[in-house]
Each structure stands twice: as C-alpha cells, then as structure tokens.
Amino acid sequence: MKRIIVFLAPALIAAVFLGCSKDHDPAGFGKYESFMKKPANLVATFERSTDEISLSWEMPDTNSVKMFSVAWSDSNVFDLGRRSSEFTGDVNTTRKMSVSHVLRAIGQPANADSFIVYFTISALYSNETFNEFVGPRSDVDSALVYKK
C-alpha cells in the first residue's frame, strides 16, 4: 500500500501540474497603439467655385510619417459604406480633390446635384519596424456637395 501511495502521489501531482500549465499569453497591441498617432482636426469643405473638396488636418507628430492616406465613403459608418482611398504622396496637411473624381470613386454619378461625402485621414508610417503601415484614422468629417 505504501508503495502504491509512494508511486502514485508524485504521478498525481505531476499530472495536475502538467495539466494545469498555461500555454498562452495575452496578445499585446502596444507596438501599434503607443507609436502611432491619428491626424486631428480634419475639416472637409466643398468649394463651389472650383468644384473641389478642400481638406485640411493637423498631425501632432510627423516622426516616421512618409505621407497620408485620404479615405472617403458615402456612409458615416465608414466601413459599412462604399469607400475609396488614395495616398497624398507627401507630408502636406492640406489637399484638394475634384468632386467628380471623389464621387466616381464611390460609384456615384459625377454630376450629382447634392451629396454628402465622409472623409478620414491616416498617416502612412515607414521605418525599421513599420513597412508603409497605414496608421489610425482621424475622426470623420463630412462635406456637403450642393450644386443647385
């Protein structure tokens, strides 16, 4: 009986410890969250005289920012609507876009009389860690296209 207990007790303890071992760690998002900033104060305005949409924003920290990505959609729930995007190619914080180009890109007739377009801006990061990584989106702003 003693032999049974002497043999089984360590086996039991080992089984419990092996069975209880936790083989997963929580995932971290700090690498993205702590480094990247979202552009602020985005303003989208329809300029009737030139038939353009004028965008301006601020970027508090331009470290590792290569350019910006402008995205627009026909829905204020951005990801649910039809959307399109393009890169600015520089680090300027203003941009003008023709209305016909913006509307066509989201499948709307270029000569629509009235339409609301929702815009957002993201910075494109590029360094040793981030290979042309599109950062977090700014708050969405809308521009009312009204031609009547």
């Binding site: 049974i4 089984l8 069975g19 995932a27 981030f130 977090p136």
Partner: protein, 191 residues
Amino acid sequence: MESMFRKMSIIGLSLLLCLSIAGVGYAQNEDSFVRAATVSKRDAVLLSALFPGLGQMTAGSKVKGVSMFLAETISLALFVNAHEDYTTKLDTYNRDKQILDSMAGLGRQSYTEANKLYMNVKRQNTKLDDLHNTRNIALAVAAGVYAYNLVDALFFTSSSTESQRAEMHRNITVQSVMVDKTPGIMISKSF
C-alpha cells in the same frame, strides 16, 4: 393431429430442458462470480488505485463505488474534452498572434485591420482562459475523487469477506451440534 401434438410436446420439453441447463449454468456462473468478488482489502486498494470506485464496488459498497466511478469518469471526460479544445484553439490563437506581430513589417497593412485582428485575438484569449479554467477544475475534481477514493479504500472500506461475514451474522445459520452424545442440528437467527 396427434403426431403434431407429440412433436410440439417434444420440442417444448427440449426447450424446457435447455433452459434448465442454461439456468443451472447461469447459477453456477453467478456463484463463481460471487466467489470471485470476495476480495481482500489489499486487492480492493489495488483496484481503487487502478480506477476510483472499483475497489469499493468489489468490496460490496456498490453505491459508493458507482458514485466514485461516475464522478471520476465524468470529470476525466470533461478534462479530456477541455484539453483537446484548448490545444486546438491554442494553435489558431498562436497563428493569429504571430500574424498580428508581423503585420507591421508586411507592407501596406493598416491599423484598422491590425486592430480588428487584435480584437479577434483578444476574444480568443478570453476563450482560452475559460477552457484553461474548465480543464483545471475538471482535473482538480478528478484528482480529488482519486485521492478520496484511495483514502476511502485504505481506511474506510472493509474487504468483501468481512462484509459478507457481517451479512451472514444477520441471516439464519445452520450448525451441526452434539446434545447429550446425540448428533443434532441447530438453526439460529440473530436479530
């Protein structure tokens, strides 16, 4: 008609004979089973060490034995199920976590996509935590039942011969006795 009745009688009697023989055989088997079930305390402990409840069952404590057997079986089944589920989900979790870590260097990936994947990985992590807890609880219960079963077999379960002897004392016993040099039979029953 008469011959048919005779045939039917022969068949019926044959069947009866077969059944009687089978009955005797079954009774003998049952007797041998009862004899085989008379185990010593050492054997009961060994059986209990092999699987909880076996020792108690063979020593006569059937309800206790079956309860322990079922408790151990259920908790082990839960453990195995949770463990399998955990290992399967762990593979997916590790793969997604690796993708999340490497997304930064892949090129033209976005924070939005990374955030979506992160939320997904977080949900998987919560699920893994739950499975881990279920697995541990099931294992702890199985270990507890096993330990209790061993203690019970060692200290609280009497061997079946002892329990049968105790049972015999409660039944009618027949003994041969000599009364004034005359052989006789004494029938006694304890209450």
